[in-house]
Symmetry: C2
Subunit: 190 residues, 2 copies
């Protein structure tokens, strides 16, 4: 079994509202050794896809995106939430609803960092309802870039967004897919 699944079983907590808390190793506290293992698994799955750019959305996917970029020897483009004073010039813009924060925000990527010549792998920590994936599809399409695929550490399989993306033909790797959290017991998809 992948180390990530062991960590989810050992440290993950199921909270009210179908929330899977993996904060102790994936985002509030980051276990960089585990992140590197997950990144290696992502690399093994996409190493023949001519990936030349990793994309993520701030902030909890940044650590995994950077670890993955190390294997691909390429740069990471971070879609930023909200309009910040240190982002200037022309940007691609998309709308993002964050279930974690309960609000809709603009997500922006400077046009200078993404173009039609890019083969993009989108990386995030979590796939739940798929809003980050929608942004990846939207922004790479605006840029005319080729979205090679998407990779996440943990997919909440029972929420359906992952299977919908697969049925639409996207190459999606979820290193661990949680298919059920009934009564606090976590069950993985094989």
């Amino acid at each position: 079994m992948h180390l990530l699944k062991d960590a989810i079983i050992k440290y993950g907590k199921v909270l009210a509202g179908d929330i899977l808390q993996v904060g102790s190793f994936l985002n509030q506290q980051i276990d960089v050794e585990l992140i590197d293992e997950i990144a290696k698994t992502i690399y093994d799955n996409f190493k023949d896809c001519a990936v030349n750019k990793i994309m993520t959305i701030e902030s909890s996917g940044i650590s995994l995106a950077c670890a993955t970029a190390r294997f691909f020897n390429c740069k990471v483009v971070v879609a930023k939430k909200g309009k910040a004073s240190n982002v200037s010039g022309d940007c691609y813009t998309a709308k993002c609803y964050s279930y974690t924060h309960g609000k809709t925000e603009d997500v922006i990527v400077s046009k200078q960092f993404l173009s039609a010549s890019d083969n993009v792998l989108f990386v995030d920590d979590f796939l739940a309802k798929g809003s980050a994936m929608d942004i990846a599809i939207d922004v790479t399409s605006q840029a005319g870039a080729n979205l090679v695929g998407m990779a996440v550490a943990v997919e909440k399989g029972f929420q359906g967004a992952g299977d919908k993306l697969r049925s639409e033909g996207y190459k999606l790797l979820s290193v661990a897919i949680v298919d059920s959290m009934q009564d606090g017991k976590i069950t993985f998809r094989n």
Copy 2:
């Protein structure tokens, strides 16, 4: 000269309002190879300080914090902005004014990730007016942890916060200190 200074000269842009834009390698787009070089410099300066935890504030310090944690073989604690649904339990809380976003936010760290037994190195991408450092001091003090020191990639030296921290006795490493950006020309402190 450190690679970071070369990158600032080559790719940095001076914008109105004393903003130094280094988005093309440090935050909007991340050059992981350069980040690793900066992390190595930080490690060399703090390797004898028994650091057992890296702390940062989301989001632009996360990549450098994770790269630094790899050298120290320790975990990263990320202070999160705003109250998110996936953070539960007792937290340390501090107030943060973001000059980049122009608003004050709560910054929270779950108490389970920081305690009196920790030797903490705070890592961030930028030191301008020092608000992130104030949070590091505040939160580690609440936890009773030992704040070993602070390290940033770029310090805007002319804004004074770095020198104030040094005069107060904090061990602060800034891999590049920009002392002037007059007329768009960037001058480093020796």
